[in-house]
């Protein structure tokens, strides 16, 4: 047994070390930082001065931050409705007895394995390009005027559509695995009783997918809260109000973007804590509101 104790220690220690240094310590320190006035991230602890909730007051008083939260909310709501309904539609189609299911499934999931930076570059430089882009070429062929997709008024939606296109595959896979766990005899019984496909979907599939929908809403929320890459790619040099999200705001305040005059690590930490609290709240609310009825099937 003594020998085993040494073995366990050797086996577990590196893992525990990485948990402590990479997750526990930084989380606590960020939390503490959010209550102090700190200019640079690397400033020594002795230069920190207690600031109460001033950092939080500062960020919530900032119109840029409020705009970023608003954008995040729009991404969550509009992007979420779009992503989850399209992915559910694909999941239902792919489980309806369609041929080449495996190929279709793999093709729809594909954007998830490709570097998102490459995906974003392709959307920006090709699909949305004003001169030779796919969308404007189609519009011109139809005799219509080309649109400035990346102009201030369209940019947010252009970004959202590109993001949703990539995300659909992932949520579709989770829906598919949920649908496949629903026993076939329920559908057979419903068919005998004369229920059509749409009735079967709303009476069987949807209610039995409640747990999966809950999972997907949680994932989507976390996905939106940590939204960064697409915003950065759609306004790569200067952060723009149309595409700013909280993580970009944090990046600019703490690490110094072009628009920020003075860095403020304390305010950055406050943004981080706020977002982490939102993540926690999402876990809590989704678990409370969407009850698993522990359906047995």
């Amino acid at each position: 047994m003594k020998k085993n104790r040494a073995l366990i220690l050797c086996f577990v220690l590196p893992c525990v070390f990485s948990l402590l240094i990479m997750f526990l310590y930084p989380t606590i320190r960020t939390f503490v930082m959010s209550f102090f006035k700190i200019e640079g991230i690397t400033d020594d602890v002795s230069t920190w001065s207690f600031y109460g909730v001033e950092n939080y007051a500062k960020i919530f008083g900032s119109s840029t931050y409020r705009k970023s939260m608003l954008n995040m909310g729009s991404i969550w709501l509009f992007g979420g409705v779009l992503t989850l309904s399209v992915s559910l539609l694909f999941a239902v189609i792919l489980t309806s007895g369609i041929r080449f299911k495996k190929f279709f499934r793999a093709a729809i999931y594909l954007p998830n394995v490709i570097s998102a930076v490459a995906m974003a570059t392709m959307w920006i430089q090709y699909i949305y390009n004003q001169d030779y882009g796919m969308l404007n070429t189609i519009l011109k062929k139809l005799g219509l005027e080309g649109v400035r997709w990346l102009g201030a008024d369209m940019k947010f939606w252009a970004m959202l559509v590109a993001f949703v296109f990539g995300a659909v595959g992932y949520y579709m896979l989770i829906f598919i695995s949920g649908i496949e766990r629903i026993p076939q005899d329920l559908y057979e019984a419903a068919t005998i009783d004369g229920a059509n496909k749409i009735q079967q979907f709303s009476q069987i599939t949807l209610p039995l997918l409640r747990g999966i929908i809950k999972t997907n809403i949680t994932f989507w929320s976390v996905h939106t809260i940590t939204f960064f890459l697409w915003s950065k790619m759609f306004s790569p040099v200067d952060t723009e109000a149309t595409t700013i999200v909280p993580v970009v705001y944090l990046y600019d305040t703490a690490f110094g973007g072009k628009a920020t005059i003075t860095r403020d690590a304390g305010a950055g930490a406050a943004v981080g804590v706020t977002l982490a609290v939102i993540v926690l709240a999402v876990y809590f609310i989704v678990n409370k509101v969407v009850k698993d009825d522990d359906l047995e099937f």
Binding site: G97, I174, A265, G272
Partner: protein
């Protein structure tokens, strides 16, 4: 079940057509989506072999002036893609190997032995997975400066530590399914517990290690946020951040052929991996996703 019925129906033309007809809207929707994806990717490939002028005049597939594979040479050499690619390869390979060396023994010990703190570590791993990286990034930055860790080794370390919770949790479930008789037999034959793990138990979870390594590889190769913050010299820039730099300098160089060539080079490794391993990857996503 359904697919079996479908196969049978193939030979009964009447039922088959009725059924296929009812599925027609489904086919149309899915095919339209995939057609879009295909046009998208094929155009990028065409553009990467064209000149900037051809791209701007919308004549990508005419190849009036022939193919231009020199775009790739240009991207690889003068746009630094070779350097970015090498860095990404280094980060993903080294961190993927190291993370298994750290996580596999931990997962084994956590699933096999009960000891003080076992449960705490297990839930710690799960909580760590759901902590947004924005919560940890600033103290890590300060720590790295304080301890003078910089250059490529810093990103390698970060990618190792970041992937430990997921990898350990994933492997834990596989070790738990293995029968204890393996260790008992090994112990009777006089094999030490340590050796039993490396020689007997580890090879048994090889399929799980392969799956988890694919995921780690994809996530490190495609990682962007951490790299953007920590890769402050071009010597340590991986492909994602490198591509952003190329896009930003496009205003001055104007070489769009090379830009698209760079895009192709960046997505090709994971794309090829996916072509060969899509079944495994998809099974891994649904297997891991449901737990959440």
């Amino acid at each position: 079940m359904i697919s079996k019925k479908n196969k049978k129906a193939k030979y009964k033309a009447k039922i088959n057509w009725k059924k296929e007809l009812s599925l027609l809207p489904g086919y149309v929707i899915v095919l339209a989506w995939i057609f879009f994806t295909a046009v998208f990717l094929i155009w990028i490939l065409g553009a990467s072999l064209s000149t900037s002028r051809e791209i701007f005049s919308g004549e990508v597939f005419k190849f009036a002036t022939g193919f231009h594979p020199e775009n790739y040479v240009n991207a690889w050499e003068s746009q630094n893609v070779a350097k970015f690619f090498g860095n990404s390869l280094l980060y993903s390979v080294v961190s993927c190997v190291a993370v298994v060396i750290i996580s596999a023994p931990a997962a084994y010990a956590l699933s096999r032995y009960s000891f003080l703190g076992n449960k705490v570590i297990k839930s710690g791993l799960i909580i760590a997975m759901s902590i947004p990286s924005i919560m940890i990034i600033m103290p890590i930055f300060a720590l790295a400066t304080e301890w003078q860790i910089k250059g490529r080794i810093l990103l390698i370390l970060l990618y190792i530590f970041l992937n430990v919770p997921f990898t350990t949790t994933y492997l834990l479930n596989f070790f738990a399914t293995l029968s204890k008789t393996y260790e008992e037999a090994a112990a009777i034959d006089g094999c030490s517990p340590g050796k039993t793990f490396w020689v007997i138990m580890l090879p048994l979870v090889q399929p799980a290690i392969i799956t988890v390594t694919i995921f780690n590889f994809l996530s490190v190769w495609n990682e962007f946020f951490i790299a953007l913050i920590f890769a402050n010299t071009s010597d340590m820039t991986p492909v994602g951040v490198g591509l952003l730099q190329i896009v930003n300098s496009m205003k001055y160089t104007g070489n769009y052929g090379a830009l698209f060539a760079a895009v192709v080079i960046v997505f090709l490794p994971t794309f090829l991996l996916y072509i060969f391993l899509s079944e495994k990857i998809i099974a891994g996503v649904t297997g891991g996703g449901i737990k959440g």
